[in-house]
């Protein structure tokens, strides 16, 4: 039986979610999700970068963008839960909730909150190099979350269209519909025709005002894969730091982990301070 449903009475539903062990189990085991998203994104990128000129490349780029948006939604739902552990749904956010959340984050997220969200404990050791390194990590976390929020906002409409009802016009179809020699349409068509060899695809959404052109840049897929890769590192960090095992002999289980996306550009002495004085495990 591939699907099984259990209906929990309210008392047991509360007990399940109020038990910190549920959160720990769920988040620690979330690494599987991170691995599979990373694998899917890598497989899509491989197809997109196939030297053969395949007709499905725009589709693959759109799947990559969708994967990036969905990965950001993992972090969005986790952040919603982090801010409000009483949130009605367990690590699940509705479109409206995500819209509000990302609109706020795109403006600002406090550095401390970003570090706490990564489940990164702060060491008590007072060392200027360590403090500088931690500040760098906090700033990176802040920047990443703000960038993710911006990326989500910029792409969610297109992703919803792609997921649910991908009906559109091809770039050359609007003049077949509107034959009134509209000078604005003629201008846009000429512009698109010129740009076309440098684009993956141009689709057109008809709306009440006319035609809304959506060009797909050739770099869009690569950018999406990059966003997914960084978002996955944030997810790994949350998952890996959710529960630490102080008695483990494996430092990657015992110590709080920092992933390379956060330590890139740090000088060697600050990296050393993170390990020596901060007690962090730097993931290679």
């Amino acid at each position: 039986m591939s699907i099984r449903q259990v209906l929990l009475p309210p008392r047991f539903s509360r007990a399940l979610h109020e038990n910190p062990n549920t959160e720990n189990l769920a988040i620690s085991a979330w690494e599987d999700v991170a691995v599979s998203v990373q694998e899917l994104s890598a497989a899509l990128r491989k197809q997109l970068e196939d030297p053969v000129d395949r007709a499905d490349k725009p589709y693959m780029a759109r799947e990559l963008i969708t994967t990036a948006v969905e990965t950001i939604e993992i972090l969005g739902s986790a952040l919603l839960r982090f801010r409000n552990p009483e949130h009605r749904q367990f690590h699940f956010a509705s479109n409206d909730e995500l819209t509000t959340l990302f609109a706020a984050i795109a403006q600002e997220i406090p550095e401390d909150e970003a570090l706490d969200f990564l489940r990164l404990p702060r060491p008590s050791h007072d060392d200027p190099k360590l403090a500088a390194a931690l500040q760098h990590i906090g700033k990176r976390a802040q920047d990443f979350l703000i960038d993710f929020a911006g990326y989500w906002q910029a792409n969610i409409q297109s992703v919803r269209w792609f997921r649910h009802y991908p009906a559109c016009l091809a770039w050359n179809e609007p003049p077949i519909i509107d034959t009134s020699n509209n000078p604005e349409l003629t201008r846009i068509q000429a512009e698109i025709k010129e740009r076309l060899p440098h684009l993956l695809e141009v689709i057109v959404h008809p709306d009440e005002r006319g035609f809304d052109y959506e060009p797909l840049e050739p770099t869009a897929g690569r950018l999406a894969a990059g966003i997914t890769r960084v978002a996955i590192q944030v997810l790994y960090m949350i998952s890996g730091n959710q529960v630490l095992e102080p008695r483990s002999t494996d430092p990657s289980h015992r110590l709080p982990k920092v992933f390379p996306a956060f330590t890139r550009e740090l000088p060697a002495e600050q990296l050393d301070a993170l390990q020596r004085w901060g007690g962090y495990f730097l993931v290679p």
């Binding site: 539903s13 399940l16 999700v33 691995v35």
Partner: protein
Amino acid sequence: LSPEPKPPTAQQARENWLLRLFLLENLLTYIELRRAFVDHLARRAAGAADRRTAARRLDAACHAWTLCDNLLSVYETLAGKINITQESQRRAIQMRVSGRTTTPNVRFHKTIWLYHQLTKLPDEVFHRSQIDRTHAEAILNQLIERSCTTLRDHYATIANYHRKYRDIARAYKHGRALFPLQVTFETDQASGQSRLNAHVDHNVVTAFQRNADGTETVTTLTPDEESDQDVDGVLRIAAEQLPRLRAYIASFRTSCEAYIGWLEGSQPDPIGPGPTFCFFAEPYSPEEEGVMQALRSKRTSST
């Protein structure tokens, strides 16, 4: 006596019909690409090992759900003759898809594929094809009946898949709210005491859905042979239907273009080649093949 309806202007025909047909044709192109992608994911899952297998099967199952959602939306669009140039109408399609709890009746499929037109063909068609009307109509009715039975089965398979995997696909799409947790809830018959247990199991994924009454639906998917077969079933149907849907819509577009040409005075005949009728009644007897061939020849000669 009511006056003859005034024909639309060529521009009205473009905006009201041709635009919709372009949208539908491009929609079907995207759905075909999605089918190929799900097929790729399904094959990738078959080649995986251990923990990777469950994750890859999950990817295939959830993308197949989106494929089903898209196909059901196309059915609703065609059956309801929905004006998809309007955003509000496109949104309403999703509501119609999720609102259907039973498999639609035969009329639904007859409307989509315009089979009722085949029962009202003018005598001229049969004369030109040199076939007896009564005899041909009996054969056409058989073809329609068998096609509708197949289409009902196809619809039921897709709609069942859509319902069965909805909670998992919804959690997958909205931030992968799926966890490798096995949650069991057992009530001891003797004591009446209930026990809740949750533990990590990398072979399953679980979605939590708290309901308005405070209860919680815990849905667990074990990606296995059954889910593989479900995905295969959906892929087979999509592979069978999509080429016919595309040919069918393309034939409408060709007819629409011919009609616009007539409105503009560049075409002598207002009637284009007409729809390409598609049957889902394999295998066909030689007699059935003969009738279908005769009708096809008629259309070719009239174009």
